[in-house]
Protein backbone atom coordinates (compact mmCIF):
# COMPACT_ATOMS: atom_id res chain seq x y z
CA UNK A 1 0.00 0.00 0.00
CA UNK A 2 1.34 3.43 -0.83
CA UNK A 3 1.86 6.10 1.76
CA UNK A 4 -0.76 8.21 0.03
CA UNK A 5 -3.42 5.99 1.55
CA UNK A 6 -2.44 7.07 5.04
CA UNK A 7 -4.20 10.38 4.52
CA UNK A 8 -1.32 12.69 5.38
CA UNK A 9 -3.51 15.78 5.40
CA UNK A 10 -5.63 14.32 8.16
CA UNK A 11 -2.55 13.40 10.11
CA UNK A 12 -1.19 16.91 9.82
CA UNK A 13 -4.57 18.27 10.85
CA UNK A 14 -4.65 15.98 13.85
CA UNK A 15 -1.21 17.10 14.90
CA UNK A 16 -2.24 20.72 14.68
CA UNK A 17 -5.27 19.99 16.83
CA UNK A 18 -3.25 17.94 19.24
CA UNK A 19 -5.33 14.88 18.43
CA UNK A 20 -2.72 12.22 18.32
CA UNK A 21 -4.89 9.23 17.46
CA UNK A 22 -4.47 9.12 13.73
CA UNK A 23 -0.98 10.56 14.01
CA UNK A 24 -0.07 7.61 16.17
CA UNK A 25 -1.49 5.25 13.60
CA UNK A 26 0.56 6.98 10.97
CA UNK A 27 3.59 6.44 13.17
CA UNK A 28 2.67 2.81 13.48
CA UNK A 29 2.53 2.46 9.72
CA UNK A 30 5.95 4.06 9.49
CA UNK A 31 7.29 1.69 12.11
CA UNK A 32 5.90 -1.31 10.30
CA UNK A 33 7.31 -0.20 6.97
CA UNK A 34 10.68 0.36 8.58
CA UNK A 35 10.70 -3.09 10.16
CA UNK A 36 9.66 -4.76 6.94
CA UNK A 37 12.30 -2.94 4.96
CA UNK A 38 15.02 -3.83 7.44
CA UNK A 39 14.05 -7.50 7.48
CA UNK A 40 13.82 -7.67 3.71
CA UNK A 41 17.26 -6.09 3.41
CA UNK A 42 18.79 -8.50 5.90
CA UNK A 43 17.23 -11.59 4.37
CA UNK A 44 17.02 -11.01 0.61
CA UNK A 45 16.57 -14.72 -0.04
CA UNK A 46 13.32 -14.92 1.88
CA UNK A 47 10.04 -14.73 0.02
CA UNK A 48 7.77 -11.76 0.58
CA UNK A 49 5.47 -13.99 2.63
CA UNK A 50 8.35 -14.98 4.86
CA UNK A 51 9.37 -11.37 5.28
CA UNK A 52 5.78 -10.46 6.16
CA UNK A 53 5.62 -13.23 8.72
CA UNK A 54 8.81 -12.15 10.45
CA UNK A 55 7.74 -8.50 10.27
CA UNK A 56 4.56 -9.42 12.06
CA UNK A 57 6.52 -11.20 14.78
CA UNK A 58 8.84 -8.22 15.08
CA UNK A 59 5.92 -5.86 15.58
CA UNK A 60 4.45 -8.11 18.24
CA UNK A 61 7.85 -8.24 19.93
CA UNK A 62 7.99 -4.45 19.82
CA UNK A 63 4.61 -4.17 21.50
CA UNK A 64 5.56 -6.71 24.16
CA UNK A 65 8.80 -4.90 24.89
CA UNK A 66 7.02 -1.60 25.14
CA UNK A 67 4.48 -3.05 27.55
CA UNK A 68 7.23 -4.49 29.73
CA UNK A 69 9.58 -1.56 29.63
CA UNK A 70 8.61 1.60 27.75
CA UNK A 71 11.47 3.21 25.88
CA UNK A 72 12.20 6.65 27.33
CA UNK A 73 13.32 7.96 23.95
CA UNK A 74 10.54 6.25 22.05
CA UNK A 75 11.05 3.96 19.08
CA UNK A 76 14.18 5.37 17.57
CA UNK A 77 15.52 3.79 14.38
CA UNK A 78 18.46 2.14 16.21
CA UNK A 79 16.00 0.58 18.62
CA UNK A 80 13.74 -0.63 15.81
CA UNK A 81 16.79 -2.00 14.01
CA UNK A 82 17.77 -4.07 17.00
CA UNK A 83 14.26 -5.45 17.38
CA UNK A 84 14.34 -6.40 13.70
CA UNK A 85 17.70 -8.10 14.23
CA UNK A 86 16.59 -10.14 17.22
CA UNK A 87 13.42 -11.12 15.38
CA UNK A 88 15.48 -12.40 12.48
CA UNK A 89 17.77 -14.37 14.76
CA UNK A 90 14.70 -15.82 16.41
CA UNK A 91 13.47 -16.85 13.01
CA UNK A 92 16.77 -18.59 12.36
CA UNK A 93 16.29 -20.45 15.62
CA UNK A 94 12.70 -21.29 14.78
CA UNK A 95 13.71 -22.82 11.48
CA UNK A 96 16.69 -24.79 12.63
CA UNK A 97 17.80 -27.04 15.46
CA UNK A 98 19.28 -25.07 18.32
CA UNK A 99 23.01 -25.43 18.53
CA UNK A 100 25.45 -23.70 20.83
CA UNK A 101 28.39 -21.75 19.55
CA UNK A 102 30.62 -24.44 21.00
CA UNK A 103 28.79 -27.06 18.98
CA UNK A 104 29.20 -24.91 15.89
CA UNK A 105 32.89 -24.78 16.52
CA UNK A 106 33.03 -28.54 16.55
CA UNK A 107 30.91 -29.09 13.47
CA UNK A 108 31.25 -25.82 11.57
CA UNK A 109 27.48 -25.73 11.43
CA UNK A 110 27.32 -28.59 9.01
CA UNK A 111 24.01 -30.10 9.92
CA UNK A 112 21.76 -31.83 7.45
CA UNK A 113 19.14 -29.59 5.94
CA UNK A 114 15.60 -30.26 7.05
CA UNK A 115 14.29 -30.15 3.52
CA UNK A 116 15.31 -31.64 0.23
CA UNK A 117 16.91 -28.90 -1.80
CA UNK A 118 17.09 -28.51 -5.55
CA UNK A 119 20.39 -29.10 -7.28
CA UNK A 120 21.31 -25.43 -7.26
CA UNK A 121 20.76 -25.18 -3.54
CA UNK A 122 22.87 -28.27 -2.98
CA UNK A 123 25.68 -26.72 -4.97
CA UNK A 124 25.38 -23.53 -2.93
CA UNK A 125 25.35 -25.56 0.24
CA UNK A 126 28.52 -27.36 -0.83
CA UNK A 127 30.16 -24.07 -1.64
CA UNK A 128 29.16 -22.73 1.75
CA UNK A 129 30.72 -25.65 3.53
CA UNK A 130 33.84 -25.38 1.43
CA UNK A 131 34.13 -21.68 2.22
CA UNK A 132 33.91 -22.31 5.93
CA UNK A 133 36.38 -25.14 5.75
CA UNK A 134 38.82 -22.95 3.82
CA UNK A 135 38.27 -20.01 6.12
CA UNK A 136 39.40 -22.13 9.03
CA UNK A 137 42.73 -22.69 7.33
CA UNK A 138 43.60 -19.03 6.72
CA UNK A 139 45.92 -17.15 9.00
CA UNK A 140 44.14 -15.09 11.62
CA UNK A 141 44.25 -11.62 10.07
CA UNK A 142 43.12 -12.93 6.72
CA UNK A 143 40.41 -14.97 8.40
CA UNK A 144 39.00 -11.83 9.94
CA UNK A 145 39.33 -9.80 6.76
CA UNK A 146 37.62 -12.41 4.60
CA UNK A 147 34.91 -13.11 7.17
CA UNK A 148 33.99 -9.44 7.31
CA UNK A 149 34.11 -9.26 3.53
CA UNK A 150 31.75 -12.21 3.28
CA UNK A 151 29.41 -10.55 5.73
CA UNK A 152 29.13 -7.54 3.46
CA UNK A 153 31.69 -5.05 4.76
CA UNK A 154 33.81 -2.81 2.56
CA UNK A 155 37.50 -2.29 3.13
CA UNK A 156 37.01 1.04 4.87
CA UNK A 157 34.55 -0.50 7.33
CA UNK A 158 36.79 -3.49 7.91
CA UNK A 159 39.55 -1.09 8.86
CA UNK A 160 37.30 0.65 11.37
CA UNK A 161 36.11 -2.57 12.98
CA UNK A 162 39.50 -4.19 13.27
CA UNK A 163 41.65 -1.16 13.96
CA UNK A 164 43.88 -1.77 10.94
CA UNK A 165 45.02 1.07 8.75
CA UNK A 166 44.00 1.24 5.10
CA UNK A 167 47.16 -0.39 3.82
CA UNK A 168 46.97 -3.28 6.27
CA UNK A 169 43.32 -3.79 5.46
CA UNK A 170 43.93 -3.87 1.73
CA UNK A 171 46.75 -6.34 2.28
CA UNK A 172 44.75 -8.72 4.49
CA UNK A 173 41.69 -8.58 2.28
CA UNK A 174 43.58 -9.13 -0.97
CA UNK A 175 45.72 -11.95 0.35
CA UNK A 176 42.83 -13.49 2.22
CA UNK A 177 40.68 -13.55 -0.91
CA UNK A 178 43.50 -15.08 -2.91
CA UNK A 179 43.98 -17.78 -0.27
CA UNK A 180 40.27 -18.53 -0.19
CA UNK A 181 40.05 -18.67 -3.97
CA UNK A 182 43.00 -21.03 -4.14
CA UNK A 183 41.56 -23.27 -1.45
CA UNK A 184 38.17 -23.39 -3.15
CA UNK A 185 39.78 -24.28 -6.45
CA UNK A 186 41.51 -27.20 -4.79
CA UNK A 187 38.10 -28.33 -3.57
CA UNK A 188 36.69 -28.20 -7.09
CA UNK A 189 35.11 -24.77 -7.03
CA UNK A 190 36.60 -22.97 -10.02
CA UNK A 191 36.53 -19.27 -10.76
CA UNK A 192 33.17 -17.68 -11.35
Amino acid sequence: MSEDHILPSQVADSLRKGRTGSAAIEDFAVVRRYMRGAIARACPYWSSDEVEEVTQRAVVRLVELEMRKPQPDGFTPPYLSKVAYTSIVDEFRRRAPEVSLEAHEETRGEFPSREQTPEGDCRLSELRRAIWACLGNLIRNRQHAVALLLMGYKNREIATLTGWDAKQTENHVTRGRADLRSCLEQKGFGRV
Binding site: G21, A42, T76, R95, E98, V99, L127, G152
Partner: protein, 226 residues
Amino acid sequence: MNSSRDNELLKWQEAVQEGASESAPDSHDPSIERIWDASRGNLPPAETRELLDRVVKSPAHARAWSAARAISQYEKDEYSENVRPEFKFRAWRGWLSAAAVIVAISGVAVWMSMKAPFESNLRGERATIESLIPDDAALPRTGAALRWQGPPGVVEYNIRVFREDLEPLVVEEGLDGAVFVLPESVVTNIGRGETVLWQVEAVFGDGKRALSETFKVRIGEKSETP
Protein backbone atom coordinates in the same frame (compact mmCIF):
# COMPACT_ATOMS: atom_id res chain seq x y z
CA MET B 1 37.76 -4.53 -8.66
CA ASN B 2 36.80 -6.07 -11.95
CA SER B 3 33.47 -7.64 -12.80
CA SER B 4 34.72 -11.21 -12.51
CA ARG B 5 35.97 -10.62 -8.99
CA ASP B 6 32.72 -8.87 -8.10
CA ASN B 7 30.78 -11.91 -9.27
CA GLU B 8 33.06 -14.17 -7.31
CA LEU B 9 32.52 -12.23 -4.11
CA LEU B 10 28.77 -12.04 -4.66
CA LYS B 11 28.64 -15.80 -5.10
CA TRP B 12 30.59 -16.35 -1.91
CA GLN B 13 28.40 -13.91 -0.02
CA GLU B 14 25.25 -15.56 -1.30
CA ALA B 15 26.52 -18.96 -0.19
CA VAL B 16 27.45 -17.71 3.26
CA GLN B 17 24.42 -15.55 3.88
CA GLU B 18 21.93 -18.15 2.79
CA GLY B 19 23.39 -20.72 5.12
CA ALA B 20 21.36 -20.07 8.22
CA SER B 21 18.65 -22.57 7.47
CA GLU B 22 20.90 -25.43 8.47
CA SER B 23 21.78 -24.29 11.94
CA ALA B 24 21.01 -21.58 14.44
CA PRO B 25 22.51 -20.05 17.55
CA ASP B 26 21.35 -21.18 20.95
CA SER B 27 18.51 -19.09 22.35
CA HIS B 28 20.59 -17.86 25.27
CA ASP B 29 23.80 -17.34 23.40
CA PRO B 30 25.25 -14.04 24.66
CA SER B 31 27.34 -13.68 21.53
CA ILE B 32 24.20 -12.64 19.63
CA GLU B 33 24.08 -9.41 21.61
CA ARG B 34 27.79 -8.83 21.17
CA ILE B 35 27.55 -9.52 17.46
CA TRP B 36 25.01 -6.71 17.19
CA ASP B 37 27.35 -4.30 18.94
CA ALA B 38 30.36 -5.44 16.96
CA SER B 39 28.55 -5.21 13.64
CA ARG B 40 27.83 -1.54 14.32
CA GLY B 41 31.36 -0.75 15.39
CA ASN B 42 30.38 -0.39 19.03
CA LEU B 43 33.03 -2.78 20.35
CA PRO B 44 36.72 -1.97 20.61
CA PRO B 45 38.73 -3.54 17.74
CA ALA B 46 40.38 -6.05 20.09
CA GLU B 47 36.99 -7.34 21.28
CA THR B 48 35.66 -7.38 17.75
CA ARG B 49 38.55 -9.51 16.62
CA GLU B 50 38.15 -11.79 19.62
CA LEU B 51 34.52 -12.27 18.63
CA LEU B 52 35.54 -12.83 15.01
CA ASP B 53 37.81 -15.65 16.18
CA ARG B 54 34.70 -17.47 17.28
CA VAL B 55 32.36 -16.35 14.54
CA VAL B 56 34.59 -17.61 11.72
CA LYS B 57 33.97 -21.07 13.11
CA SER B 58 30.21 -20.70 13.12
CA PRO B 59 28.30 -20.09 9.88
CA ALA B 60 25.10 -19.38 11.77
CA HIS B 61 26.69 -16.68 13.87
CA ALA B 62 28.21 -15.21 10.75
CA ARG B 63 24.74 -15.20 9.24
CA ALA B 64 23.45 -13.30 12.24
CA TRP B 65 26.31 -10.84 11.85
CA SER B 66 25.46 -10.41 8.16
CA ALA B 67 21.86 -9.68 9.09
CA ALA B 68 22.97 -7.15 11.69
CA ARG B 69 25.23 -5.48 9.17
CA ALA B 70 22.47 -5.32 6.53
CA ILE B 71 19.97 -3.85 8.98
CA SER B 72 22.43 -1.19 10.09
CA GLN B 73 23.03 -0.33 6.48
CA TYR B 74 19.29 -0.08 5.91
CA GLU B 75 18.96 2.16 8.94
CA LYS B 76 21.70 4.40 7.64
CA ASP B 77 20.17 4.58 4.18
CA GLU B 78 16.60 5.13 5.29
CA TYR B 79 16.97 7.27 8.34
CA SER B 80 19.63 9.67 7.29
CA GLU B 81 18.41 10.30 3.77
CA ASN B 82 14.91 9.30 2.87
CA VAL B 83 12.80 9.27 5.97
CA ARG B 84 10.07 11.84 5.98
CA PRO B 85 10.34 14.79 8.34
CA GLU B 86 7.41 13.69 10.48
CA PHE B 87 9.15 10.38 11.17
CA LYS B 88 12.14 12.17 12.62
CA PHE B 89 9.86 14.52 14.50
CA ARG B 90 7.75 11.85 16.04
CA ALA B 91 10.69 9.60 16.70
CA TRP B 92 11.55 11.93 19.53
CA ARG B 93 8.21 13.36 20.46
CA GLY B 94 5.21 11.28 19.62
CA TRP B 95 6.37 7.71 20.06
CA LEU B 96 4.86 7.13 23.40
CA SER B 97 1.43 8.05 22.11
CA ALA B 98 2.12 5.85 19.12
CA ALA B 99 3.09 3.06 21.45
CA ALA B 100 -0.16 3.44 23.32
CA VAL B 101 -2.09 3.00 20.10
CA ILE B 102 0.09 0.09 19.11
CA VAL B 103 -0.67 -1.56 22.40
CA ALA B 104 -4.36 -0.96 21.73
CA ILE B 105 -3.96 -2.38 18.27
CA SER B 106 -2.15 -5.36 19.68
CA GLY B 107 -5.50 -6.35 21.12
CA VAL B 108 -6.10 -7.65 17.63
CA ALA B 109 -3.94 -10.61 18.55
CA VAL B 110 -6.56 -11.69 20.99
CA TRP B 111 -9.60 -10.17 19.33
CA MET B 112 -10.88 -13.53 18.28
CA SER B 113 -11.56 -14.31 21.89
CA MET B 114 -13.35 -11.04 22.46
CA LYS B 115 -16.99 -11.42 21.63
CA ALA B 116 -18.70 -9.14 24.12
CA PRO B 117 -18.95 -5.43 23.38
CA PHE B 118 -15.93 -3.58 24.71
CA GLU B 119 -16.42 -0.97 27.36
CA SER B 120 -13.78 1.65 27.81
CA ASN B 121 -13.51 3.86 30.81
CA LEU B 122 -11.80 7.13 30.11
CA ARG B 123 -11.62 9.70 32.87
CA GLY B 124 -14.47 8.02 34.69
CA GLU B 125 -16.92 7.96 31.82
CA ARG B 126 -18.25 4.61 30.70
CA ALA B 127 -19.23 4.15 27.11
CA THR B 128 -20.19 1.19 24.99
CA ILE B 129 -19.76 1.09 21.25
CA GLU B 130 -21.27 -1.89 19.49
CA SER B 131 -20.92 -2.99 15.91
CA LEU B 132 -24.18 -3.38 14.04
CA ILE B 133 -22.60 -5.77 11.58
CA PRO B 134 -23.02 -9.47 12.38
CA ASP B 135 -19.80 -11.35 13.11
CA ASP B 136 -19.82 -13.44 9.96
CA ALA B 137 -21.20 -10.82 7.60
CA ALA B 138 -19.57 -10.05 4.28
CA LEU B 139 -20.11 -6.56 2.94
CA PRO B 140 -20.42 -5.85 -0.78
CA ARG B 141 -17.46 -4.13 -2.37
CA THR B 142 -19.62 -1.25 -3.50
CA GLY B 143 -21.04 0.86 -0.71
CA ALA B 144 -19.47 -1.23 2.06
CA ALA B 145 -20.88 0.49 5.14
CA LEU B 146 -19.47 -0.02 8.61
CA ARG B 147 -22.24 0.72 11.12
CA TRP B 148 -22.21 0.92 14.87
CA GLN B 149 -24.19 2.13 17.83
CA GLY B 150 -22.65 4.57 20.27
CA PRO B 151 -23.56 6.03 23.64
CA PRO B 152 -25.41 9.30 24.11
CA GLY B 153 -23.45 12.53 24.21
CA VAL B 154 -21.15 11.73 21.30
CA VAL B 155 -20.39 14.72 19.10
CA GLU B 156 -18.31 12.93 16.52
CA TYR B 157 -16.63 9.64 15.70
CA ASN B 158 -13.23 8.66 14.37
CA ILE B 159 -12.72 5.34 12.66
CA ARG B 160 -9.66 3.29 11.75
CA VAL B 161 -9.68 0.36 9.37
CA PHE B 162 -6.81 -2.14 9.22
CA ARG B 163 -5.81 -5.29 7.50
CA GLU B 164 -5.48 -8.37 9.68
CA ASP B 165 -1.72 -7.86 9.73
CA LEU B 166 -2.39 -4.43 11.27
CA GLU B 167 -1.49 -2.45 8.20
CA PRO B 168 -3.70 0.66 8.24
CA LEU B 169 -6.12 1.02 5.34
CA VAL B 170 -7.91 4.22 6.18
CA VAL B 171 -8.41 6.67 9.02
CA GLU B 172 -11.40 8.98 8.99
CA GLU B 173 -12.09 11.56 11.64
CA GLY B 174 -14.93 13.88 12.52
CA LEU B 175 -17.80 11.64 11.39
CA ASP B 176 -21.21 13.06 12.31
CA GLY B 177 -23.04 9.75 12.25
CA ALA B 178 -22.43 6.18 13.31
CA VAL B 179 -21.68 4.91 9.84
CA PHE B 180 -18.69 4.95 7.52
CA VAL B 181 -18.78 3.84 3.91
CA LEU B 182 -15.44 2.49 2.74
CA PRO B 183 -14.24 4.64 -0.16
CA GLU B 184 -13.78 2.89 -3.47
CA SER B 185 -10.08 3.78 -3.42
CA VAL B 186 -9.73 1.79 -0.20
CA VAL B 187 -11.85 -1.15 -1.29
CA THR B 188 -9.66 -1.46 -4.37
CA ASN B 189 -6.79 -2.37 -2.04
CA ILE B 190 -8.77 -5.03 -0.21
CA GLY B 191 -8.78 -8.52 -1.63
CA ARG B 192 -12.05 -10.26 -2.42
CA GLY B 193 -13.15 -12.03 0.73
CA GLU B 194 -10.41 -10.42 2.80
CA THR B 195 -11.23 -9.74 6.43
CA VAL B 196 -10.50 -6.28 7.68
CA LEU B 197 -10.50 -4.93 11.21
CA TRP B 198 -12.05 -1.68 12.32
CA GLN B 199 -12.17 0.35 15.47
CA VAL B 200 -14.24 3.37 16.39
CA GLU B 201 -13.39 6.21 18.74
CA ALA B 202 -16.24 8.27 20.16
CA VAL B 203 -15.59 11.91 21.04
CA PHE B 204 -17.85 13.49 23.64
CA GLY B 205 -18.82 17.14 23.99
CA ASP B 206 -16.42 17.64 26.90
CA GLY B 207 -13.53 16.28 24.88
CA LYS B 208 -13.49 12.86 26.53
CA ARG B 209 -13.07 9.87 24.28
CA ALA B 210 -13.98 6.19 24.26
CA LEU B 211 -12.60 3.41 22.10
CA SER B 212 -14.54 0.45 20.80
CA GLU B 213 -13.23 -3.06 20.63
CA THR B 214 -11.67 -4.08 17.34
CA PHE B 215 -14.38 -5.45 15.06
CA LYS B 216 -13.93 -7.59 12.01
CA VAL B 217 -15.73 -7.84 8.72
CA ARG B 218 -15.16 -9.49 5.37
CA ILE B 219 -15.26 -7.41 2.23
CA GLY B 220 -16.57 -8.57 -1.11
CA GLU B 221 -16.78 -12.24 -0.41
CA LYS B 222 -20.12 -12.53 -2.11
CA SER B 223 -20.71 -11.68 -5.73
CA GLU B 224 -21.05 -8.04 -6.42
CA THR B 225 -24.41 -6.72 -7.40
CA PRO B 226 -24.15 -5.40 -10.99
